[in-house]
Symmetry: C2
């Protein structure tokens, strides 16, 4: 039920905007009572926070699966990270878009919660870069923090232009990105 | 005056959101009359469109200056493109943020206008990549369209995390990005 409320509200927030969507609109659209809504969420703000928190906590949980897998190279870890985000676009692209657009409606404390998880995900990517520098997979003369922001920008921005049902499959897209990032356009 | 209206309204749209900001709020904040507003803009929607149209048309005009400069390598053209966008963050970062958040308030026709200019800018970057493939500067085995989206994602996303007054100067940031993109993390 929680998932149905989230899904229905993401659709409405996307179409009408967060401010113009009421809790009544949300419960009407999925055919439940207001009581059901308040059983799962204390407010519309809390729902907006949970939409994003669910999404990024899930990314973080999945990231942890491969972070400490010593059979993978750091390039392979970057590849898995990219695939994790890009394969989530089909299911969660709309919720990422809604969140980014409406984040100003969240209270300071909620924004902090979201930022803390995002930061953890980013720091894990930076750890991959630094481990790669240490073991000689990657060069040491580029700042790992900026490199990390750059890679995440490339991957995260994908939701704004990429059509998972188009000509290029998710795996191929990730392959092109990682090959360009690791071996460069010069090859 | 047009610039003052744009600047004042970007501040308000950023703080209160587009829907909750009235034309009265805008003219009050900069101390002019509604008549002055309507001399420059027919509506709040048109103002929102112009905020972004000014910004990207300006990028496109600046892009054209170096596109046909045959003394520059394609790597140098990418570098100039990156610097163009990243050095604009200080001045126009807020307007980019406001636009991306509020774009759904624009009418279909206005969105098309914006997309046409964005597309032109992107196609110019793709031309740089393809010219580089043709003259042997860049490898030929990566799809130029995906490479272009990747590079632009990396560069465009910068406005969401980069502080131009922080430790890393704009030139250094662009250098790291272009060096990583051209020669790769492996170096």
């Amino acid at each position: 039920m929680q998932d149905r409320i989230i899904e229905g509200s993401v659709d409405l927030f996307d179409k009408k905007g967060f401010s113009k969507t009421s809790i009544q609109d949300i419960v009407d659209s999925i055919g439940v009572s207001k009581g059901t809504f308040y059983y799962y969420f204390n407010s519309k703000q809390e729902l907006l926070r949970d939409i994003h928190l669910n999404y990024i906590q899930n990314l973080l949980d999945n990231q942890m699966i491969y972070m400490n897998d010593s059979t993978l190279s750091n390039r392979e870890k970057l590849q898995k990270m990219g695939y994790l985000i890009i394969s989530g676009i089909r299911k969660s692209g709309k919720s990422a878009r809604v969140f980014n657009r409406e984040v100003r409606h969240l209270e300071e404390e909620h924004i902090k919660q979201v930022h803390a998880i995002r930061r953890e995900f980013r720091m894990n990517v930076q750890r991959i870069i630094e481990a790669g520098i240490k073991n000689g997979e990657f060069r040491s003369d580029l700042r790992s923090d900026i490199v990390t922001f750059g890679i995440l920008g490339m991957v995260n921005r994908t939701y704004s232009w990429y059509d998972p049902d188009g000509e290029v499959k998710e795996e191929e897209l990730v392959d092109i990105f990682i090959e360009m990032l690791v071996n460069g356009l010069k090859g």
